[in-house]
Amino acid sequence: MNDSEFVRVMASILLQASPLIIAVCGEILTERSGVVNLSLDGSLLMAAMTGFVVGLLTQNLWLGFGAAALVGALFAGIVAFGSIRLGQSQVAIGFVLALLGDDLSAFLGQNYTRTPGVAVPHTPIPILKDIPIIGPVIFDQDIVVYFALVLIGITWWWLNRTQPGLRLRGSGERPEAAFARGVGVNRVRYLYTILGGALVGIAGAAYSLDVKIGWSDGHVRGFGWIALAIVIFGGWSPIRGAFGALLFGATKALATYLQRAFPEVSVVAFNSIPWVLMILVLLAVGSDYTERFISAMPKDWQRPLRRVLRVSPPMALGTTFHEG
């Protein structure tokens, strides 16, 4: 593969990964507050369908994205409400919504399959795009990619360098203590679950309006589950999560490339790569390799390393908090 082909592949990987990055950042916000939104697969499908249809009917991209964000927020809102107010299992509600989203999107979108719609225009950034290698990969893209990249930074900054971010993390780690500090834990959880859901909605529209244009039955099925897994093995951190998304994007590109290079090997092997990869990475994360690795490092490095490589979930993830 020569240089320009390499660059093209890289750019394509980033484009493919961008909606996933957006969804992952959204879910990280949700889970850091203590809520699991297992409905991602269904929300992504519903959002993709909604974004496409609304975009098509109004010929307006912004409305499409907006409608998709609302749909994502609605799904997330149901999970939040069902868990916080009604005390039901987040996993159960999320799972039902995941399946329901699939069926609903198929039903509601049935008249719009295989119809051409609107698409996000290519918007390269002048000057920057001419930087060798990085230029074409990062700056010769469209607004979805730029949004995803900026979102990584914003999410990280919000979580780690702001007061609201501390309150968010506190709600997910130790809600009793956060409550004692004046944090409205359940309000925080509602807020970030819905916000996260809106981002997931945007990600769904990013698929049907940009990365995988159009709508069909089963369009982005499976991506939601992958996003959830990436959140876990990204250790609930936006930067590592983005790497995870890129890794998954890369496996797809890799699969296509390998398939061309080795046509004899059956499709099976390549299709299985992402799933086998998922298992392997989750295994690596669950084992104590990280801990052993850190312990082997010089004392001074251990503390910052531990901070960077921490993979434990928010301690109160999935639990219900009763105030007062």
Binding site: V36, L38, I78, F81, G82, L86, G87, Q88, S89, V91, A92, I93, F95, V96, L97, L99, L100, D102, D103, L104, A106, F107, L108, Q110, D217, G222, W225, L228, A229, I232, F233, S266, V267, V268, N271, S272, W275, V276, M278, I279, L282, L283, V285, G286, S287, V311, S312, P313, L317, G318, T320, H322
Partner: protein
């Protein structure tokens, strides 16, 4: 209503009838919701529901189809009751059904003999296949700390990939690979069916046996109690003498075996060969059924029958009205959702009690550090 009455759980007179009737409310709400969707697409709800009804029970053949779809749902659901009791979310049930079908197909295609030999062999192979696939998820969880939701998902997809490979490759029909299915099985390999329907009375026997076995396991055996303890508090269960790792694996494999059996019924009676859609979403449906049944075994058969009727009926609906058959899935899904959300009047009306509809719902820890052996708690 004052505190004393609340704590006794006996509501005052006028609200009594409302509480009694409450369980129906989410069901009616689900019907209203689905009707709304139908209206959106200019389809009359009443016609649509009656089309569904005739699609399900219109004639004897159709009715038997509903029954034939019902059996694997039952088998999978009974298996899931075991894993739910143990506190596990066995999303991988879909893959276990598929593997059961694959193993049964292998016997059907590769072994020659009379039905009396083939069928038990196929059923056994199916149970082994499903149990093995579930076992992998279980070991990933106990040894690898991979949450069973993700382990199950990955293995579901791998099972589908494997099926597609077999269909288009080694087991393709003589006319050439068409991605539709493998070569059809010999007659002796198939389960005997009632006349020319897809329903196999033998499969009913299997389902009833499964019901009885699971019922007794949960109510009257030490193993069932161990699983119950494991599901509620894995560490305490361990300290009380429950070998948590082993029991998790056993529970998953038991469910996998029943799932595999469901797959065998599918591939040997509903179809006559291994197909792409061999599992038919039955695994996920079974999860919904068990949630809707509030994890109570006696409610499962009726709810499963309802699901089967709705889903089969909606296929006819699609044929008649051009409406996408996912409507059936929507109706059933919305019903489960609404029951979860407002199935318990107490939650909404009276105070903020922690009452949940499904008292059996497992508390699942959603984390890669899912561990049920000491080490997590050990040490200072």
């Amino acid at each position: 209503m004052n505190d004393a009455e609340l704590s006794q759980g006996k509501p005052a007179g006028t609200q009594n009838w409302l509480l009694r009737l409450w369980p129906i409310v989410p069901i009616i709400a689900a019907l209203l919701f689905t009707s709304g969707l139908l209206l959106l697409f200019n389809a009359g709800p009443l016609e649509s529901y009656s089309a569904m009804w005739t699609g399900a029970f219109g004639d004897a053949n159709k009715t038997f189809s509903v029954l034939a779809f019902w059996i694997p749902l039952l088998l999978a659901s009974f298996g899931l009751l075991i894993t739910f009791t143990a506190g596990l979310w066995n999303i991988g049930i879909e893959g276990q059904i598929i593997l059961g079908a694959i193993f049964a197909s292998w016997v059907a295609l590769k072994v020659d003999g009379p039905a009396i030999l083939l069928i038990p062999l196929e059923l056994l192979a199916a149970m082994v296949g499903g149990a093995l696939w579930a076992g992998i998820v279980a070991v990933l969880k106990t040894r690898g700390k991979v949450n069973e939701i993700f382990g199950g998902l990955a293995l579901n997809n791998l099972a589908i990939i494997l099926t597609n490979y077999l269909i288009s490759g080694p087991w393709q029909p003589p006319e050439g690979g068409s991605f539709r299915g493998t070569t059809p099985f010999q007659e002796a390999a198939l389960l005997p069916r009632y006349m020319d329907t897809r329903f196999s009375p033998l499969s009913l026997v299997l389902a009833v046996s499964a019901f009885v076995i699971v019922f007794f396991i949960l109510r009257g055996t030490t193993w069932g109690l161990k699983l119950k303890a494991l599901g509620k508090n894995p560490y305490s269960a361990f300290l009380l003498g429950v070998r948590s790792e082993r029991e998790t694996i056993m529970a998953m494999m038991f469910c996998g075996a029943l799932g595999g059996l469901a797959g065998a019924v599918r591939v040997l009676s509903w179809f006559d060969s291994l197909r792409q859609s061999i599992s038919g979403g039955i695994g996920f449906l079974a999860l919904l059924i068990v949630i809707l049944a509030a994890y109570r075994i006696f409610w499962v058969p009726l709810i499963a029958l309802f699901f089967s009727a709705v889903l089969n009926g909606s296929i006819t609906l699609q044929l008649r009205t051009q409406l996408h058959s996912s409507l059936g899935g929507i109706l059933t899904g919305v019903m489960v959702l609404f029951v979860l959300l407002f199935g318990s009047a107490k939650q909404l009306g009276i105070g903020k009690t922690k009452q949940v509809v499904s008292e059996g719902a497992p508390e699942v820890t959603y984390s890669p550090a899912d561990t049920i052996v000491p080490g997590k708690h050990g040490g200072d």
